[in-house]
Symmetry: C2
Subunit: 431 residues, 2 copies
């Protein structure tokens, strides 16, 4: 009797451990790499947010967010280069360079990407942006919509437009976290970042939100990201900065090498602070910090991720080659599974650099795990001990540096590991 009860307990424990390994722990939990909570973000002058539950696909949660921007705001953005980009992306791209003294708005839903939806997809965008423009009395060319979620299903846009009055009534300066929460799909935490800095003319604020967890390998843009500042910045300067900084932040992350059809980053400057800012300044540095923070949060919420990994490439022919080598390492399934297994398998890093297309010479390559020199000029370092590498790999945040020994090109990219959790999340029927 007792022996059997013991056996049942033991079998149950084993079952629980295996289920955890398979990511079958029941309700989706928060990523182990998540920050402790959503940051405290004060109001950004000229920006108000609202969120509502439109039931686009999900039940029991918000799935649409509205952002209202004050008259005089400038807006810039970068978008996916996918050849099959979604209807709202095409619409937003056509509008991004337009300027106006009127207000502006962002309207974003989760649950359905309105991608590969043909003529109906375009009509849905027109219906949504047209009604938002009328309701908020802003030019239609200044209403930007995004949709994120399943590809190839018609967007039930009536459910969204039915909630517009509720959204308008809910607009408030302190609801940015609600907005961040409404745009989540497989994300396990809401992503926000904030900076405040003193410029010559006074203090300005920068706030941003983002979503993204899988299908992350942005191409000149990213998943969805929205950034707001009360600084006064011309549209060309704003576009210049968002493009340059996206290339160093969102474009330097990858979860699974798959590029979304909906990637969009929008940056709005309301000018409410009255402080003028522009490229090449302390403002740009602060903006870079906010964008990099959001990009890292996307990686930290990578599907199934248990490790956050920085890959730094130095000594490349040029920066583009360094980026190419870094992304090849960051995307390699064999490197990513080795990271998951806490295996200091530097041979797989050599392999990934070799296939990347970046100029490399086996006999000039050096590799570090953190501060540990692993391999030098094409051969394992005489001082390297596998036990040191294995101990280093136990950490949650890792840094791998590869010096190509060619010239001075460099790039840093960020990725996560590839685990059973990723398979479980994505092999489920129509995730």
């Amino acid at each position: 009797m007792g022996a059997k009860s013991e056996k049942i307990k033991k079998l149950r424990r084993k079952l629980k451990a295996l289920r955890a390994e398979l990511g079958k722990g029941g309700a989706p939990s928060v990523s182990p790499l998540a920050p402790s909570g959503f940051p405290a973000i004060p109001a950004i002058g000229g920006v108000r947010f609202a969120a509502a539950a439109a039931g686009v696909k999900y039940a029991g949660r918000t799935d649409v967010m509205l952002t209202e921007l004050a008259p005089g705001s400038t807006i810039a953005g970068v978008f996916t280069k996918s050849a099959t980009r979604a209807a709202p992306v095409l619409d937003a791209q056509s509008k991004i360079a337009s300027t106006s003294d009127g207000g502006a708005a962002f309207i974003v839903n989760s649950g359905n990407a309105n991608a590969f939806t043909g003529h109906d997809g375009r009509e849905a965008v027109t219906a949504i942006t047209g009604q938002v423009a009328g309701m908020l009395n802003v030019p239609e060319a200044r209403v930007f919509s995004s949709s994120t979620g399943v590809i190839g299903e018609p967007l039930p846009h009536d459910r969204i437009t039915a909630k517009l009055m509720e959204l308008k009534a809910g607009l408030a300066a302190d609801r940015i976290e609600d907005a961040a929460r409404a745009i989540m799909t497989t994300d396990t935490f809401a992503k926000g970042a904030f900076a405040e800095l003193a410029l010559e003319g006074g203090r300005v604020r920068i706030a941003g939100i983002a979503k993204g967890s899988g299908m992350i390998a942005p191409d000149m843009a990213t998943m969805l990201g929205y950034l707001f500042t009360d600084a006064k910045i011309s549209q060309p300067d704003l576009q210049d900065m968002v493009a340059r900084l996206a290339a160093k932040s969102f474009n330097c992350i990858t979860v699974d090498s798959d590029t979304s059809t909906s990637d969009t980053v929008l940056l709005a400057a309301t000018g409410a602070s009255g402080v003028v800012a522009g490229p090449g300044s302390a403002f740009e540095e602060a903006l870079r910090g906010v964008m990099t923070d959001l990009a890292h949060q996307v990686v930290r919420d990578g599907e199934g991720a248990t490790k956050f990994v920085e890959i730094a490439i130095t000594g490349a022919r040029d920066d583009a080659d360094a980026h190419r080598a870094g992304m090849a390492v960051a995307n390699s399934p064999l490197v990513k599974t080795a990271l998951a297994g806490e295996d200091p398998n530097w041979g797989r890093i050599v392999m990934a650099v070799g296939k990347s297309g970046a100029e490399a010479d086996r006999d000039a390559l050096s590799i570090w795990f953190g501060d540990i020199l692993v391999a030098e000029k094409g051969w394992i370092s005489p001082d390297y001990r596998e036990a040191d590498g294995a101990a280093y790999m136990k950490a949650q945040d890792l840094r791998i540096r590869v010096d190509l020994g060619m010239s001075t090109g460099e790039a840093t990219v960020w990725t996560c590991d590839l685990t059973h959790g990723y398979i479980t999340i994505n092999a489920d029927y129509r995730s």
Copy 2:
């Protein structure tokens, strides 16, 4: 009592199912996609094989194979384009165009790739090829070595050279399966293929062996493949054929998008049949069949694979664009996990085509699962039923066709699904 026994039985069943899902079924079993057995391959005139257990890394199995080729044989080959290719690859590339009336040899070990091994790596190759040349009395420029296995560890070449006399004594025309078995690493079955055909001058035979299971995304070459024919073919004609056919066979497969540092395919023509053959003939067609068969076997042994998937791209701008789109679909982790989950998730196929860099227009794209039209000209087909797609996905061998609607370019590539088994195999410590 009975209830508890029942409970124990039930828990054990659940445990067994979960372990199977995690690929923890104990000893590595044979891929579910494996052919029924190694094919019957008769002797190829002018070719003899031997295998031995040198203990390079593995215990209790053969890990080195020797092939002797008769005087007058011509040899051609294609090699990985990796920038970090291994010492034996660099050596073989430097020798491939050399001609001689003397005999020739291939010497191949598994367990260690002799890659990223610097000066020591080159010395190991010289020691092995030099001793084989002396022993068999063939020119050193006609001895080709390959090594496959772990990267970055010194090759204990003394263990290989210590077995050379045993290998020489064991040479026999009927030992091709032994040779195929000695070059396996994570392979779960030995791979061989054979064809015989009647040409004007008489009958000729073509036989081939290959290894490969992970780190499979050949770039102008593949894993390891060795092909033999008794036809009489000039070296330039042989090189012409192997390069053209590798591009349509081994270069059209991917397991995990990771390109090996050791990829090598060698093709030897002994001329023992006295029958002359060359490009553009029935011979080339038969050779293509043998090479494609071996390439498919590598995919069927893909790490953790449970599905064999053909991706056919038509209507591309050109063949290169079709190949690009096909490989993007075949390498997409989201497509591959959907296949593992038997999810007819065609939205992920649209995504992969979009990111591929191939010229595409969302509104011209059509997709089929087998004969089922799923999407047409940028929108889901009115006749498509998700239940039909889901039923199709249950099959073990799948065919996905994507028509880009641009022009007449086409390509066919082959891949497998991405499962928990892949993670288990590769996240283990130093696999």
